[in-house]
């Protein structure tokens, strides 16, 4: 018997009790937005809404990375030999590639996250079998929870 989306979410300790030490303190509005979206994804998971969870999780991935990377500009600049310009007009794909390049020791985000988030476009979802959200939603929840956990650990280290 597979777990329900609700029970999976109940095991996601970092989603249920998010810590935002990895986001710079001045980005208060960012934290509020992420917190609101996490609240909504938890509700959607409790209601078994697979499509909502899949797409919203992708949005939260983007928000988390957008905020986290802004706090790491100096670190990335040093690793790049002097400069790094954060592009606020980037997208999930860009932020994942920056993250995987400079923080792969912390966590690696698979490309499937972008593909599942792109289910917001009907032409993308149509390329997959009809019940793919059943697979995607739990995976997105678990990956997001794991990312939040690793970033929290990183911020405390």
């Amino acid at each position: 018997m597979t777990d329900t989306l609700k029970s999976i979410c109940e095991q996601c300790t970092h989603l249920l009790d998010p810590q935002f030490e990895f986001i710079p303190s001045e980005l208060q509005r960012h934290k509020e937005i992420i917190l609101r979206d996490i609240g909504e994804i938890v509700s959607a998971a409790a209601a078994g809404q697979e499509k909502t969870v899949t797409v919203l999780a992708g949005g939260i991935f983007e928000s988390v990375l957008y905020s986290f990377i802004q706090g790491q500009i100096e670190y990335i600049a040093v690793r790049r030999g002097g400069s790094f310009t954060f592009d606020p007009d980037g997208n999930l794909d860009n932020y994942i590639s920056i993250f995987n390049r400079w923080f792969s020791e912390v966590f690696t985000i698979p490309d499937i996250v972008v593909q599942y988030r792109n289910f917001v476009h009907i032409n993308q979802e149509l390329q997959y079998p009809s019940d793919t959200c059943q697979i995607a939603a739990p995976e997105m929840l678990r990956l997001l929870d794991a990312l939040l956990g690793k970033l929290t650990e990183y911020a405390k280290s």
Binding site: R80, G81, I96, T108, I112, Q127, Y128, D131
Partner: protein, 269 residues
């Protein structure tokens, strides 16, 4: 092995900085013409001490079917017009591919001391991938999809499954580490795509995936691979195998891998 005194840290630092500046330029070019997409950027004839650095950009689309060349200041972000400069050659993937076939001498200089800074595998031809030795998957990798129990039960034959899943991008890869002589059983390492490269899953990483959790919950788990191999998962076993590193594009931090044991099955009739 070189000791610290032998390392030229200043030269290393300059190379890192030039690479970063070229990457910034490439990123800026990616968004310039939304109707055409950047497929490849290669830093070639690398000489970090030189005033001129050489960059090849391959784009999709017909307007780039001639070799255009620009000389751009690499410190453009600071407003500086001075050195170092990037000499940027822009052409299309199709044009470059045809040069590879018809005039290999003309493209040979691009492979002189080069480094691929950016690529989008989907937009490149196999010839370009081969020419620049862009390695995105380990030898022997087969790609496929996880079939949920309901997807498996709904399937009558392999062809039907391939038709249903074929338009979706493969989500898992398998590098076999052992196979029985009758091909009925095998074991191997599962991979996922990370920034365009297929990397092995770690014992920790695999826990996020639905197929693994379904299997742990006692559900039958099947994978369908391109070409039509259909397997049922028998078990996962975590092993420490430092010697696998030579066969893979990445390694787990402690060389521990969750090896999957598979049995070939037929689609339910």
């Amino acid at each position: 092995m070189a000791n610290l005194a032998q390392l030229d840290l200043r030269a290393k630092g300059r190379e890192t900085r030039i690479r970063a500046l070229l990457e910034d330029l490439v990123q800026a070019h990616i968004g310039v013409r939304p109707q055409y997409r950047m497929a490849l950027a290669v830093w070639f004839d690398i000489s970090p001490d030189g005033d001129d650095q050489f960059l090849l950009e391959l784009m999709t689309g017909a307007p780039f079917d001639t070799d255009a060349q620009d000389r751009l200041p690499l410190l453009w972000q600071t407003g500086s017009e001075g050195s170092p400069y990037a000499r940027v050659r822009v052409t299309s993937v199709d044009h470059f591919t045809s040069l590879l076939r018809t005039d290999p001498d003309q493209v040979a200089p691009y492979r002189r001391s080069y480094e691929v800074l950016y690529f989008d595998k989907k937009l490149l031809t196999p010839e370009v991938i081969e020419f620049f030795k862009i390695i995105t998957e380990p030898p022997g990798l087969v790609k496929g999809w996880y079939l949920s129990e309901s997807q498996y039960q709904m399937s009558n034959n392999i062809q039907g499954l391939l038709t249903r899943l074929g338009s979706a991008r493969p989500e898992v890869g398998l590098v076999k580490t052992d196979e029985s002589s009758d091909f009925a059983n095998c074991r191997g390492l599962l991979h996922v795509e990370v920034s365009g490269k297929w990397l092995p899953l770690s014992p920790e990483g695999i826990r996020s995936y639905t197929f693994y959790n379904d299997w742990q919950s006692g559900v039958r788990v099947h994978f369908l691979f391109e070409g039509g191999s259909l397997y049922q998962v028998l078990k996962f076993e975590v092993k420490t195998e430092p010697e696998y590193v030579g066969r893979l594009l990445g390694r787990t931090p402690d060389d521990r891998y969750p090896e999957v044991y598979l049995r070939a099955v037929h689609a339910p009739a």
